[in-house]
């Protein structure tokens, strides 16, 4: 979240789209309800009418997988009706920046539905290499080269890109009622006014598509057009599920990241040495952005916070290997050699068969607190991949479909060679430590009780594992063993004798020479004198002690916007709303005055030449006046990107593409002239899909989760109370589809896709309706995916049906849109 849970109460309009807050984030509804009580309008867009829809003022149905069309039409509405915030666009975004003259949007007739070559997705530069922008206007002629160069601004390209996303076209793609769509466009875009804000609450409904990253991009464009970024009640807010999933990605659990959203080194020549900024062909030089200040070069300047990356990476290396020069210990980090996302790992395992062994096969797998035997897409394919492992370790509270894959129905255990170990872990109340919620708020908790039996806190399991591995390598003088021999395990002994606290203090960081804690990441250095496990959390445990344990329930912010600075600690630097520099006027006579004074976040008092007290922590350069720095300090040009520069694989602007499996044979946006589905996705060899418009699988399906169960179900399908309130899997369908198929409510039905079939009960409901898509009737169904063959309440897994294909950028699987057929048993 750019904002945080409590801040939802400040919104004038709340768009719940790609998420289902009432069912999957019930606590969020505390704040949605509070906003509603103050008069906010709740809009919900979802393929089916959910418990969130039931509490919304406006509900719109849509076909799963058409979010870019839906949001793209809202962008066009805002542009056509002058409902965008010109001053904000000029001051805070790249709207007025010129783009390479050779760039063409997906509206160019020579390549409909696709953009010009990727090397044109760049700023138009002057002779000094500075991007050229207009002052005080969104559109115009290049001030350096005149009309001759033909360069256009981002804003001009944006208007061109979305020129065909009119409401009629959009609704023929999404199936939404045009009247409702018009109401949503108007209601949402009316928040372009300075004093209004709207928030977007999304989750897996936006990400789990072959266009997942671009769904989010479309949302950010709209939020910037409406001046909704950085302000109270605004932002792009990913609702994250498990209470620490935010913390897990913050700490580098994703394959392409090390801690604090620094990139993981790759096996490429540019990453061969750590180096420094300005060093040829080094990791830090390649990965540290240089400030990109526009022509003409006048204040404000780009803050370019990622220019500090060398300090953060060097300090992380010192935390892990304090006695080793960080230029040497950089060599200890593994260098990834390819995409190692979830699907790719399972495809690699699958690919290693006795008949065609891989040269470097994946021999073993650790599975911690996840259950790919239920939550993997094309899940029988993923279960089968486990057959090819030599060993697998599962750490969980219960036996799961993953740990039990070798004795699942239809499999003869004798044929499975994989040796499986089950380590009993601890539930959240059986261990102490911090958890970080979606709002980036780290909160410390104590342990309520010990885990039962042989179960252990996972930190203790990891410590024992590390100790055992270290002892195996002790005394080795081989270079290849040094990463293990030299590692600081489990943490610097000067910090504490308590494992959890010691690691937390290492994450905060300390001075290597003295062992005293650093105050926060502003004190980190790239010269090896500081150690810090994760710069984002630096400040959580300074010398003054653990800040995550703070529990003062008073909101000291004068505008009572729910900042609660003395409750827990929010990264970075206890800032609750990031990009908050964008919440005030940037220049001129009203510099520093909030766009919305009644719900101000920060307020620069010109007379006092200082920010008012008890506001939020100012985003970067805390004492610098607004006009000193551009507000989006994490971008090297300092402004928000309406157009993505290089960035994503599939384009600098989002474009509607059909899901990989679609009931249509031509992309209706480009009248069939452009690509049907996302041309930038990777299709794994051997994966199976229904053909476009496949008559055998005419029904659009989507998957989701319910309030009553958690994700892969290991934690909830073993709890009798929760099994009782949602005992079995089902498929939701409209009364119209049920009638056509002769299905009654509660009947057993077979749902089949190109990959497999499952038997579940029918939930016939008024909450699904057939849609009219490009002139034809399309039915949609939905399946919750929690179930599997293990646990005390079991049932078929919806993911037997889902495709093994991912987003063009992240490769998150397309769980949300695929094709099925349905028969009564």
């Amino acid at each position: 979240m750019t904002n945080h849970w409590v801040d939802i109460k400040n919104a004038d309009v709340i768009l719940i789209m790609g998420s289902n807050a009432a069912e999957n984030h019930p606590i969020a509804f505390k704040w949605i309800t509070e906003a509603k009580n103050k008069g906010a309008t709740i809009i919900n867009v979802d393929p089916r009418f959910t418990r969130s829809s039931s509490k919304s003022d406006i509900y719109a149905s849509m076909r799963s997988g058409t979010d870019i069309a839906f949001l793209g039409g809202m962008i066009k509405y805002a542009l056509d009706n002058n409902k965008y915030n010109t001053q904000y666009l000029l001051d805070c975004t790249n709207s007025s920046y010129f783009i390479d003259p050779n760039f063409q949007t997906a509206r160019d007739p020579n390549h409909p539905g696709q953009f010009s070559a990727k090397d044109t997705w760049t700023y138009h530069l002057d002779d000094s290499g500075n991007p050229i922008k207009l002052d005080g206007a969104l559109e115009g002629i290049c001030p350096v080269h005149g009309t001759a160069c033909g360069a256009k601004t981002v804003f001009t390209h944006l208007k061109d890109q979305y020129s065909i996303y009119d409401a009629t076209t959009v609704c023929s793609i999404t199936g939404t009622d045009p009247l409702v769509y018009g109401t949503i466009c108007q209601t949402y875009c009316d928040t372009y006014l300075d004093y209004k804000s709207a928030t977007m609450l999304y989750a897996m409904g936006w990400t789990q598509h072959t266009v997942g990253s671009q769904n989010i991009r479309t949302a950010t464009i709209l939020q910037m057009l409406l001046a909704n970024m950085g302000v109270a009640g605004g932002g792009i807010n990913a609702l994250r599920g498990w209470h620490n999933v935010q913390g897990s990605t913050d700490h580098g659990v994703l394959y392409h990241l090390i801690t604090g959203y620094n990139p993981s080194p790759q096996n490429i020549w540019k990453h061969s040495i750590l180096g420094a900024v300005g060093t040829t062909n080094s990791f830090l030089d390649t990965e540290t952005p240089k400030a990109l200040d526009p022509y003409p070069s006048v204040a404000p300047a780009s803050g370019n916070w990622w220019g500090n990356r060398p300090k953060y990476v060097s300090s992380m290396l010192k935390a892990w290997w304090p006695t080793i020069d960080h230029n040497i210990s950089y060599q200890y980090l593994p260098k990834r050699h390819k995409d190692m996302s979830h699907i790719s790992l399972f495809e690699d395992m699958l690919d290693n068969t006795p008949d065609s062994p891989r040269t470097y096969p994946i021999k073993g797998l650790f599975v911690w607190g996840t259950n790919p035997g239920v939550i993997g897409s094309d899940v029988e394919r993923e279960r089968s991949a486990l057959h090819n492992l030599e060993w697998m370790v599962v750490c969980d509270l219960f036996e799961t479909e993953t740990s039990n894959f070798w004795k699942r129905p239809g499999v003869d255990p004798v044929t499975i060679k994989t040796e499986v170990f089950l380590l009993p872990g601890a539930a959240f109340y059986e261990k102490k430590g911090s958890v970080t919620n979606s709002g980036r708020l780290a909160q410390w908790k104590d342990k309520a009780c010990d885990p039962p039996g042989d179960a252990l806190d996972e930190l203790e399991i990891l410590r024992r594992l590390g100790d055992a591995i270290k002892s195996l390598y002790s005394g080795s003088l081989l270079d290849r063993d040094k990463p293990i021999v030299d590692i600081n395990w489990p943490y610097d002994p000067r910090l504490s004798t308590d494992l959890t606290e010691g690691i937390s203090k290492e994450i905060n960081g300390y001075y290597v020479a003295t062992g005293t804690q650093v105050t926060n990441f502003v004190g980190l250095k790239d010269d090896g004198t500081t150690a810090c496990g994760n710069w984002l959390f630096s400040g959580t445990w300074p010398d003054a002690g653990n800040q995550m344990i703070n529990r003062d329930p008073i909101d000291y912010h004068p505008a009572q916007i729910g900042i609660y600075h003395k409750w827990g600690y929010s990264w970075p630097l206890n800032r609750r709303i990031i990009y908050n520099r964008a919440s005030v006027y940037q220049t001129g006579s009203n510099e520093g005055v909030p766009l919305a004074p009644n719900k101000w976040v920060i307020w620069w008092d010109a007379a006092a030449n200082a920010y008012k007290g008890d506001g939020d922590v100012v985003d970067g350069y805390a004492t610098a006046r607004p006009s000193a720095y551009y507000p989006f300090i994490m971008r090297n040009e300092g402004v928000g990107r309406l157009m993505g520069i290089k960035g994503l694989a599939d384009g600098p602007f989002p474009e509607h593409y059909e899901p990989k499996e679609t009931p249509l044979t031509a992309n209706p946006l480009t009248s069939g002239l452009g690509p049907l589905s996302n041309p930038a996705v990777y299709v794994y060899p051997g994966t199976i899909f229904a053909a476009p418009g496949d008559p055998n699988y005419p029904i659009v399906a989507t998957t989701y989760r319910l309030t009553e169960h958690w994700h892969g179900g290991a934690m909830t399908r073993n709890l009798p109370w929760l099994c009782q309130i949602m005992p079995e899997p089902f498929v939701e369908m409209s009364e119209e589809l049920a009638l056509a198929k002769g299905i009654s409510n509660g009947n057993y039905v077979i749902v089949s896709s190109a990959r497999g079939s499952i038997t579940v009960k029918a939930c016939v409901t008024k909450r699904f309706k057939p849609l009219t898509i490009a002139g034809k009737t399309v039915h949609q169904v939905g399946l919750p995916w929690h179930w599997g063959f293990a646990a005390i309440c079991s049932g078929d897994s919806a993911n037997v049906l889902t495709p093994h294909i991912g987003d063009a950028n992240t490769r998150i699987p397309e769980y949300k849109a695929f094709l099925v057929n349905i028969y009564k048993v």
């Binding site: 009432a22 019930p26 509804f29 505390k30 309800t33 418990r51 039931s54 929760l722 005992p727 079995e728």
Partner: protein
């Protein structure tokens, strides 16, 4: 709040009242689970019957159940939720019909069944016991099914977590019914009976002016027969929820 205040649309009542605001309920069933936890009740057997509502009704194992209603009007769908439970009548008919005097009405208005006195097997040969037949709302239950077998219990219903009020072993914020303490959107409130009724009437007025013309307080509190210590704010006519 003085007990003598003259109510608009309601008779003055002393003691505790619980308000369940269905316009805020998201039917997450946290109230069901926490109720079983506080009362140390087991799960019962269920299966999916075509609705999210589960268990289908109250039982010896479940003292409250969120009920789901789908309606469609003018091409708009509504999904209504009703957290069903004992109303805690000011004049509890069940109490008057209990042959053993097992049903207690506390001075704060809470109506509860003493499990040490209640004995369904002894009180009537009929499957439906006198208190059940007497209840206007079909609330008390004494059976459930577990692992395929029928289990008989003492007669059970909501006791408004009477032993949480003023319970100093709980944090101050938790000294109220467990469902209220747990409800994520804050749809449940307890407090002084008249204050809560004013709150309910205010909410109904607000809802009627903001898209819910049929909003009402249920039971309507207009006479002794419908005067209760648990009330609901409904967004539709009670009949839509199958209530009379």
């Amino acid at each position: 709040m003085p007990a003598t205040i003259t109510m608009i649309g309601g008779i003055s009542l002393t003691g505790i009242r619980l308000l369940i605001d269905t316009s805020k309920c998201i039917a997450c069933k946290a109230c069901q689970v926490v109720c079983q936890q506080w009362h140390s009740l087991p799960s019962e057997d269920t299966n999916f019957t075509g609705t999210y509502q589960n268990p289908p009704d109250m039982s010896g194992a479940n003292l409250t159940v969120a009920k789901f209603f789908e309606i469609a009007a003018l091409s708009k769908v509504k999904w209504l939720f009703f957290k069903d439970q004992c109303r805690h009548c000011e004049v509890p008919n069940c109490q008057q019909h209990c042959p053993f005097g097992a049903i207690i009405k506390q001075t704060d208005g809470i109506v509860r069944i003493d499990p040490d006195i209640c004995n369904p097997a002894a009180c009537s040969g009929s499957v439906n016991k006198p208190c059940q037949l007497a209840c206007h709302y079909n609330i008390p239950k004494y059976m459930y099914v577990k692992d395929g077998s029928s289990v008989t219990t003492d007669m059970r219903k909501c006791d408004l977590c009477y032993n949480r009020f003023g319970n100093l072993s709980l944090p101050a914020a938790s000294q109220k019914p467990s469902c209220e303490a747990t409800c994520p959107p804050g749809a449940i409130f307890s407090g002084d009976a008249d204050t809560i009724l004013i709150q309910a009437n205010d909410r109904v007025t607000y809802l009627q002016a903001n898209g819910f013309p049929n909003a009402n307080v249920y039971p309507n509190q207009s006479g002794v027969g419908t005067l209760t210590h648990v009330i609901w704010v409904l967004t539709e006519d009670p009949a839509v929820y199958g209530l009379s």
